[in-house]
Amino acid sequence: MLSYLNSYYIQIGSFTLINIMLALGVYVPLSTGQLSLGGAGFMGLGAYLSAIAVTRFGLPIPFAIVIAGGVSTLAGILVGVPSLRLKGVYLAIATLGFGEVIRVIFIKWETITGGATGISAIPLISAGTVRFLTEQNIIDSSNKNVASDLTVFLILFLITGFFVWFFVALKNTRIWRANSAIRLDETASESIGINIHYYKVLAFSQSAFISAIAGALYAHTVSYISPSDFTYHRAVEALIFTVLGGSGHVLGAVFGATVLTIIPEALRFLKDYRYVAFGAILVIMMAFKPEGIITDNIFRKIRKK
């Protein structure tokens, strides 16, 4: 049965899930009105921390991913606190700067990070499962790769699914009302007793955590990472997912990441022109629906019907 599945499609699915996590990493600070482009930096941090923990120190993968997430969250708090003074584009530039600093550290600190060549032969998250399935003679060498890809996909699906569920569950709660209030009017928020510093740093560290987990999972999905995987391009991409999908709703980020990961693949028949078409789609969508595809209004209408 496994032989009917195409590795290529499964991998696109896996990348979609990683992109959804990155989009959530933009969505959460944006829900408090903070435009953070630090996603690529935190993603890289998570990827390198987990890869180094596994390849150098032989830690089990799940443990390494949790450590990567935890350390990056602390880094998120450290970046988030001074960023409280910054707003809008200034914050965006500062966080972009943070990402570049992180990337340069990856390049320069060769003894640990392998420099520009990066780290290769990172064990896949599916490694344990595949070994178990082979021992049990459930799979053999003919469908081992597909089984591995599928396992990766399922693990990513569960983790991404949890994150999405988590933020959907937070919608319409005290925490999320505070976040929205801060986005809509900081002065008014403070005047009704909302500690805006706390919620901004909280959102920032949540974003760092998700981005780092996405990065760690990325490392254990592609098994090879280098500094060029975590350039500002990736941060901007995540921003596009979120804004285009609809930054006012969690499912906007999910939708944006899904559609915009699949479109470039679907446009492969255009060969070199596919990014021209992709760019045109972005421009058209922004021109006609600047608030994004998924908005609160859609859900209000559905509820009323």
């Binding site: 988590f166 709660t173 505070a178 929205s180 209030a181 809509l184 403070e190 007793g193």
Partner: protein, 259 residues
């Protein structure tokens, strides 16, 4: 309950407030009047710590609250509204009020996501309380409307409901009836008296003398950052300095002609 002691504030070289001292007693409605630019809103911003005073102290229930972060001031029980209404426009009316209950509700990220420890019941309670506040300010049945779509007067009422949501002991109202017609003003007057009856003291800025004279127990008049007069509405009305501040030196003729 609220005491200001020798508050000074300069913006650049301009004196906004000089040696302001005033008192608001529990259960009182105090009016703050004065021409535009007299420093009334600056004073509100200083009480709620949005602006820090250059010198002077602010005491609330005997506690020094000078320099606390604005959200702490709100938590301690001072609610406020803004001259240029600051609602959360894209939220529903009831959500605006529920957001105002931030400091009187509890729950961190995990409790909100996983909904344990009776979170749902508490949320339901907040919603009911928010609806009650909406009907208290005369917006019953409008809870699920987006606050942006409200008329000007309704927005003012909603903002009052939101500031009441944090269970304040003292409410600061910045021009609650500006731009309203007579009937609307009458309604807001009744609302303000109602607020006092529920045990909340009120300090309000207003240009509408009908309202000030109608509801205030005492009035403080400011001009050029100074307190120029304190007294009952009747006293203030006759105070020559206040009349001069509002109407200029020859105003007596006009007031006499009117009365």
């Amino acid at each position: 309950m609220l005491q200001l002691k020798l508050i000074n504030k300069n913006f650049g070289g301009v004196t906004a407030l000089r040696n302001i001292s005033l008192n608001v007693k529990a259960g009182e409605i105090v009016g703050l009047i004065g021409p535009n630019g007299a420093g009334k809103t600056t004073l509100f911003n200083i009480i709620t710590s949005i602006t820090k005073p250059d010198s002077g102290r602010i005491l609330f229930n005997g506690k020094d609250i000078t320099g606390l972060r604005p959200y702490r001031i709100a938590e301690l029980g001072i609610g406020r509204t803004f001259q240029n209404i600051k609602l959360f426009g894209q939220m529903e009316a009831v959500e605006n009020v529920m957001t105002g209950m931030h400091s009187v509700s509890r729950g961190g990220v995990c409790r909100c996501a996983f909904k344990f420890l009776g979170y749902r019941q508490e949320e339901q309670l907040l919603r009911e309380k928010a609806q009650q506040l909406l009907s208290f300010v005369g917006l019953s049945g409008k809870g699920s409307e987006i606050s942006e779509s409200f008329s000007y007067g309704q927005q003012r009422r909603l903002e009052i409901a939101r500031s009441l949501a944090l269970n304040p002991q003292l409410l600061l109202l910045d021009e609650p009836v500006s731009g309203m017609n007579d009937t609307e003003t009458q309604d807001i007057m009744r609302l303000i008296t109602g607020i006092r009856e529920s045990g909340i003291s009120v300090l309000l800025i207003e240009h509408d003398m009908g309202l000030v004279m109608g509801v205030c127990d005492s009035v403080i008049a400011l001009n050029f950052g100074h307190v120029i007069a304190v007294g009952t509405p009747a006293e203030i009305q006759k105070n020559p300095e206040v009349i001069e501040a509002y109407l200029g030196k020859t105003a007596e003729v006009v007031t006499n002609a009117r009365s």
